[in-house]
């Protein structure tokens, strides 16, 4: 989780990424940030997040992102 | 409560309809200036007495025959239902429309409109059709003669057609909002100015002299309708130097009249005996007759109409005489006005274009 926070701090330092549950809906994560986020997550967690997983449900909160990471790690 | 709500709704809808009607009336052209033809169709409905003769056709009808002279000299009551570029189909529907309220003894149809079945300018259609009273005849007239970019709904709601006229509203639009002055004398368009015939375009041969099949159909329908109602149909062609009335056209009408036992008067051939002098009797160099020419042609036509069974001298009828005396007064007054103005200026201000 901390690794994820680090990435988020890097990309959206202004946003309240630890508690917010509407990061995408509120426009904190636009498509640009989303792609940067995915790229860094891929890099750090050694994953490859497929494009169809880039949905508001998966990225609206840090928790949801973590769940996604765990799920994809399980599939690997 | 419910009833009150309904009442409020109805009032609101009625008020909205009133606003739309007001705007429609304001924006529709009044045709009280240079172009008065837009009022011709409508004026017919103001007639209080019937007619023994109804005359149909385009400019060759409403500019060349004077019903007032027909009355004054023959005691024949008549009305011209003609308009600018009135198509034969429109003449048919106007006849149908007129026959709802009266049955004349004779119908005179000017057949120059056989040469062109389709309308060439939308504004002619509006002038002929807008004044027509609503009935199935008007509905069918619109559908039969509207141009490609015209729509029936623009006749039902003329505001859709004239909505952008707010930019060009004139004094006359307000002046004649409620009531218009009469512009015709029983459908006759009077011109007392003179413009002698000069040089005319050369007569060109045409590749095809046949009339449109649809024009023939409407001519048949007019004939059948007259037969059905026991009306004598007379075909005529007014004298005009131009546009040319070709021999090939004439012979087709002659043949048609023969087959169906109709009278066909080609007044163009009779110009001399009628006494038409194109250096004096025309106001636009030989295309149309002025009042002097029209009166001459009317006298010629009157003697023929008088022979139609049922057409009588009605000058003895006191009631009719009173109505027509007023028409005569109006006619003489206008004619004198125009004559005086023409003598003074050499043209008529109302119709003057630089």
């Amino acid at each position: 989780m901390n690794e994820l926070y680090e990435i988020l701090e890097d990309i959206i330092p202004e946003a309240d990424y630890k508690t917010s549950t509407s990061l995408v809906k509120d426009g904190n994560l636009t498509s640009f940030e989303l792609v940067r986020l995915v790229t860094q997550i891929n890099d750090v967690f050694d994953l490859s997040i497929p494009s169809e997983e880039i949905t508001p449900e998966n990225f609206d909160s840090a928790e949801a992102m973590y769940r996604l990471i765990e799920r994809l790690e399980g599939e690997e | 409560m419910k009833r009150r709500r309904a009442a409020v709704w109805l009032t609101a809808l009625a008020a909205s309809a009133a606003v739309l009607l007001f705007l429609t009336r304001l924006l529709m052209p009044k045709y009280m200036g240079k172009v008065v033809e837009g009022n011709l169709t409508e004026e017919y409905y103001k007639e209080t007495t019937g007619h023994d003769v109804l005359i149909f056709g385009n400019c060759e009808a409403y500019e060349n025959i004077s019903p007032i002279v027909l009355w004054r000299e023959f005691g024949i009551t008549s009305y011209i239902r003609g308009n600018a570029q009135q198509l034969i189909a429109q003449s048919y529907y106007l006849l149908e429309d007129a026959l709802k309220t009266e049955t004349p003894k004779a119908v005179v149809l000017n057949i120059s409109s056989m040469t062109q079945f389709e309308q060439e300018n939308e504004s002619y259609n509006r002038m002929t059709l807008d004044g027509m009273r609503w009935s199935s005849a008007k509905w069918r007239a619109i559908l039969a003669t509207k141009m490609e970019d015209e729509h029936l709904i623009e006749y039902i709601f003329p505001l859709l057609r004239f909505h952008s006229r707010w930019k060009e509203l004139e004094q006359e639009d307000f002046l004649y909002f409620f009531k218009k002055e009469p512009v015709s004398h029983n459908g006759y368009y009077m011109r007392a100015d003179i413009r002698p015939a000069g040089e005319l375009p050369a007569m060109r041969r045409r590749s095809d002299y046949s009339f449109d099949a649809r024009a023939w159909e409407y001519l048949d329908q007019i004939r059948l309708l007259c037969e059905e109602r026991g009306i004598t149909l007379i075909l005529m062609k007014a004298p005009a130097l131009y546009p040319y009335w070709y021999e090939e056209w004439d012979s087709q009408i002659v043949a048609y009249a023969q087959v169906h036992g109709l009278t066909y008067l080609n007044a163009g051939r009779e110009s001399e005996s009628i006494g038409i002098d194109f250096s004096y009797d025309t106001y636009d160099q030989g295309l149309h007759l002025n009042v002097y020419g029209a009166e001459k042609l009317t006298r010629y036509l009157g003697s023929i109409l008088f022979a139609v069974p049922g057409v009588e001298d009605r000058r003895e009828d006191v009631e009719l005489a009173a109505v027509w005396a007023e028409k005569e007064r109006f006619y003489d007054e206008k004619k004198a006005e125009q004559e005086a103005e023409f003598a003074r200026l050499g043209y008529l201000t109302q119709f003057y274009t630089d």
């Binding site: 636009t30 498509s31 790229t39 890099d43 490859s48 880039i54 | 015209e150 909505h163």
Partner: protein, 504 residues
């Protein structure tokens, strides 16, 4: 059939009557039949292309769906372990990708042929192709199961209001809308009609009136230099927005009258504070489509991610994570440009947009510092300034569509030299086909449009309008109706009532 025509109005009236008469589970069939009629109005042959698209999407998505199901069952039967499952799924996916590719190549091939050759052109081909291909990709991605009934898919692809200029909608969302029962609701019907009226206001009163002036300047930029160019840009943008968003209001309002909600395509774009925000609020459904089916796939593709790693090794993690964004942004804007038209002008326009957006993205750190340092940048007037700046940038970039870059520079030099200023002062705007009365109407219309959009910042204007007393609403709506009827440019002598965006 044009949205601004009496025949379209008659078509809708008949549709409403039949639609609510048949309210029930088969209501969607009425929509399908009328969509077919709408399409066939322009010639029965035109039906061929949407049928091919629907048919291929239905067939291929069906195959893909069946393979997904069968493979799941097979893996269960065989009792595969995780590794075996992964290998087998990969195999199936490969087969499915072939089917997907076939569908995409066929349909985008038809689209390209229609757009870039003069062989044929058929109504709404871009919009329905995008919808159908979105559906196919979604099924391939296992987002939902394929639709079994080809007729239902045909309605999704060819729902007639969308054929003029979109919006592009998604199957999972539209499925809920199209195929349920819609009972007549007076308030829904009225709300829809109100929106249609507002759309016609934008289209007839503003877009159609300003159109000739915009066309005069943008059509011959060599004649109109200097300050005229500025007005040309202004008029062009106004026309584009009033035309396109007006069309959307008509389409969405009409759908609402049928009880169907379509996705929004505009969210007051001219109040955006940056170009990238602008493009999230302008032609939204298209940009979302591009984002979901081009931007994300390209940026997360194996190639992009490897590229990111390579860049990361040289320029650090920051730069590495940005590399896919740059790459995918470039691709999306290239496609956006080419989609708008097969010419270098559009490519230039797309790339220019891309450059501005990516550059401002790069400079976001600088902006942040600026906002922290200068308190005034949080004042309302600064927000307006930011919106105005965005509009200007958008307008300038739009100019690239009708002038070349050297011409654009020429115009600015001309403007700096005061070119055209004296002609403008001498009434030059009156030579563009509009007279003083036209400009008066335009001004009034724009003030109204701007006021309503401004009100929209405080929440839905329509909802707040609903709270007003009935008599006031009636009065205002009747006034708007009169405005459309009287000040709208339509009818006799006007035959150019085509929406700009139905060319696509």
């Amino acid at each position: 059939m044009l949205l601004v025509s009496y025949s379209f109005a008659a078509f809708c009236l008949v549709l409403f009557a039949v639609y609510y008469l048949f309210s029930g589970r088969l209501q969607w069939v009425v929509l399908l039949v009328f969509s077919g009629l709408f399409y066939a109005h322009g010639g029965v042959r035109g039906l061929l292309y949407p049928l091919v698209t629907t048919g291929s999407a239905w067939f291929l998505a069906g195959r893909i769906g069946r393979q997904t199901k069968e493979s799941g069952r097979y893996m269960k039967e065989q009792g595969f372990d995780r590794m075996q499952k992964k290998a087998y799924t990969k195999q199936v996916k490969k087969k499915q990708r072939c089917l997907l590719t076939a569908g995409l190549v066929l349909n985008f091939g038809i689209l390209a042929a229609a757009k870039y050759t003069s062989l044929f052109m058929t109504l709404g081909i871009s919009y329905y192709t995008f919808q159908a291909m979105g559906y196919l990709i979604d099924v391939y991605r296992r987002k939902y199961e394929p639709e079994r009934n080809p007729a239902r898919l045909a309605l999704f692809v060819g729902f007639f209001p969308q054929l003029t200029a979109g919006p592009i909608s998604r199957f999972d969302r539209m499925r809920e809308e199209l195929f349920r029962e819609h009972r007549f609701s007076f308030s829904g019907f009225r709300l829809g009609a109100e929106r249609v009226l507002w759309g016609y206001f934008k289209k007839l009163v503003i877009a159609n009136r300003i159109g000739p002036a915009a066309a005069a300047i943008t059509g011959s930029p060599e004649l109109y230099s200097g300050f005229f160019a500025f007005f040309g840009m202004l008029f062009h943008v106004i026309e584009l927005y009033a035309d396109f968003s007006g069309c959307m209001d008509i389409v969405l309002g009409l759908s609402q009258m049928l009880g169907i909600s379509l996705p929004e395509n505009f969210e007051r774009p001219f109040f955006s504070k940056s170009l990238s925000e602008f493009w999230r609020r302008w032609h939204m459904s298209l940009m979302q489509w591009f984002r979901e089916y081009i931007f994300f796939p390209v940026s997360t593709s194996h190639f992009s991610q490897s590229f990111a790693k390579a860049v990361g090794r040289i320029g650090g993690r920051q730069a590495g994570s940005k590399a896919p964004v740059w790459l995918a942004g470039l691709v999306v804007w290239l496609v956006t440009g080419i989609w708008h038209g097969a010419s270098w002008r559009f490519v230039t326009w797309g790339l220019a947009n891309c450059s501005v957006i990516l550059l401002s993205q790069e400079l976001s750190g600088v902006y942040r510092g600026f906002h922290e340092r200068f308190a005034f940048s949080n004042r309302p007037w600064y927000q307006y300034f930011a919106s105005l700046r965005t509009c200007l940038v958008f307008g300038l970039l739009q100019m690239l569509i009708y002038v070349s870059i050297p011409e654009l520079f020429g115009m600015f030099l001309g403007m700096a030299a005061g070119e055209g200023l004296s002609e403008l002062c001498a009434g030059g705007l009156l030579t563009l086909g509009l007279d003083l009365a036209d400009y008066g109407i335009l001004f009034l219309g724009l003030v109204l449009l701007f006021a309503v959009e401004l009100m929209g910042r405080g929440g839905s204007v329509r909802e707040r309008f609903e709270e007003k007393p009935g008599w006031l609403r009636y009065l205002l709506l009747f006034a708007l109706f009169l405005l459309v009827i009287m000040a709208g440019v339509y009818g006799h002598g006007y035959d150019a009532s085509r929406f700009i965006y139905n060319r696509f």
